[in-house]
Subunit: 344 residues, 2 copies
């Protein structure tokens, strides 16, 4: 079985562990979000790709969910002693080795796809990990200038800051007016991405952030269309449980784009693939067609009440436990997702 | 008093501590060797500049004499776990912060002079530390291919390897056929270097390696001529004591260029400034003139017997203790050097 998943960081990576446990013989391709990627102290950092790689490769910090187990921060402390910015980005010493190799390889002309494959030689994550694109497309967040600056008429100045600055430095507490994926118009899907969607037996949308993780991947020209046109069923899992994100700050992201923080709203945002061409089915409107992206949607048992409304959108829906408390619970979630995909 | 010193790494840095102790009110300018500089894992590393900066700034490893006190090697171990080369270069975690700042600043267009000044803002070494050049001029070593490769007639292939590879990886045990400072023809002295020599009250040549440290600096077009033409006395200290280098591998370097490993041979190699235009006075032959570079030379008491021969070259010479066993001994060496410089 060929499974293709679009994944963000921690939530996506943890869910993928469940997929590998549920379908140990499957060929799994992961299309990772690179909108969060950032240059820090001259190093190219790909947080989501690395979270997937380290999580599936056994190197992730179990406590933090990002970065390396047993990490130290000597370099970070030294950079702070020199007084150089930014001080808010948590570059760990072990992690820096990954970034040094990536940066040097990029400067030598290798693509992010090639570099990611090379790094995975060490980690053996058990999946084929692809960046969404080898081109730079960077998630920026539109906010009121946190310094309080105003224009001539006294209105707050709106500025664009890197997603990581909003997420880590400001902990998403500065309200986002919107997200802009700078450069996405020129970005092409990385080699293998479209084929992985077209040739999959199942496409999964893990419970990653629907706006700045999955939503970012879907903005790369061609990827949303591939989801609409693939013969594989597309099934997603709600990152919202009981009106709040399981982890992270999807609520702030959903609010920024005018959506409720509910499992239903996210399902409607993705929209039903079955409602082709209706124009009223929701769905993310990129590419030639405006119909939706998913065939099936899992909500948590807490949200069982929303199942009829989601089914009414033309999306198959089941309520199952969606808390990734341990690997077994996560494996069962993956089994449920694959089962929903295969339901006639 | 304005003192200008040309310096290599450990020996030069330790001697400079003595200079600062001997002349606490002096304005000291240090012209550092950058021929050893190397790109490692995409980072720009300047071993000699950093050794001077850390030593005078109180950050040096007392035990090793290079790198940082209390250093850790997490990044190095991780790079090795990825299997990337080189594994023989000892990049410490604390040290990496310095290299990250330098590398990023170079990529932003700052010169090595500017970057070194910025790094010294933290370390406050008590001297003005200048690279010999902002241009790349890299010491390569000509050796028989260490892999044993031969040409068609069975002769060992000669290859050029980076100085650091010869010094650290091969521990100078592979015989050097010569040294080539690649790019030096196009290198210009860094801003302030020539002026620091011209406007000095005393110029000192610390007991650094006369071939690959001091000798490298002297190859930058204009620097040897400035030493010849400055009105300041130029005094050197022998790095060779009793027929062997005090530390390092100056013997291998001297042998490679056809010189004996003696205090006399090094003095003759630098040559007497007083013997202007004689053509028989020794001296390093770069630039327009071929007369020598030094007015005075200190040898260790062990080598007192060579004083008459050195004086016969036209070089003032004294035999004094030259072992930098502690700061006080080193301070006395500096006092002796300054005293020799001021002898009528």
């Amino acid at each position: 079985m060929r499974i293709t998943a679009l994944a963000g960081g921690i939530g996506g990576a943890r869910f993928l562990r469940g997929v590998l446990a549920a379908a140990p013989d499957a060929e799994v391709t992961v299309i990772g979000n690179t909108g969060d990627d950032i240059w820090v102290h001259g190093l190219r950092v790909c947080p989501d790709l690395d979270t997937v790689m380290y999580t599936l490769g056994g190197g992730i910090s179990a406590e933090r969910g990002w970065g390396r187990e047993g990490e130290t921060f000597t370099v970070k402390d030294e950079l702070a002693a020199y007084g150089v910015e930014p001080t808010w980005f948590g570059l760990g010493d072990k992690d820096i080795a990954t970034h040094l190799i990536r940066t040097q390889s990029m400067q030598a002309g290798f693509s992010l796809t090639e570099i990611t494959a090379a790094l995975c030689e060490r980690w053996q994550p058990g999946v084929r990990l692809l960046p969404m694109s080898d081109d730079r497309a960077e998630t920026n967040v539109i906010v009121d200038d946190p310094s309080g600056a105003t224009d001539d008429s006294g209105r707050a100045l709106r500025i664009a800051i890197h997603f990581q600055e909003w997420w880590i430095k400001y902990r998403a507490l500065v309200p986002a007016h919107g997200f802009v994926l700078v450069g996405v118009e020129q970005a092409r899907p990385a080699p293998g991405v479209i084929q992985a969607i077209e040739q999959a037996d199942v496409v999964l949308l893990p419970p990653s952030n629907p706006v700045v993780s999955i939503g970012t991947i879907l903005q790369v020209p061609g990827i949303a269309d591939a989801l609409r046109s693939t013969s594989a069923p597309v099934v997603g899992l709600s990152p919202i449980v009981g009106g709040a994100p399981v982890r992270g700050m999807a609520d702030a992201c959903l609010t920024a784009i005018g959506l409720d923080t509910t499992a239903l709203a996210v399902a409607a945002h993705y929209g039903a693939r079955s409602a082709r061409g209706s124009g009223n089915s929701g769905g993310i409107h990129h590419g030639a067609s405006d119909h939706g992206l998913i065939d099936g949607w899992l909500v948590d048992t807490t949200d069982a009440g929303s199942v009829p409304a989601i089914e009414a959108l033309g999306i198959r829906c089941r309520a199952v436990p969606l808390m990734m408390t341990d690997l077994e619970a996560t494996r069962v979630m993956a089994v449920d997702a694959l089962s929903l995909a295969n339901r006639p």
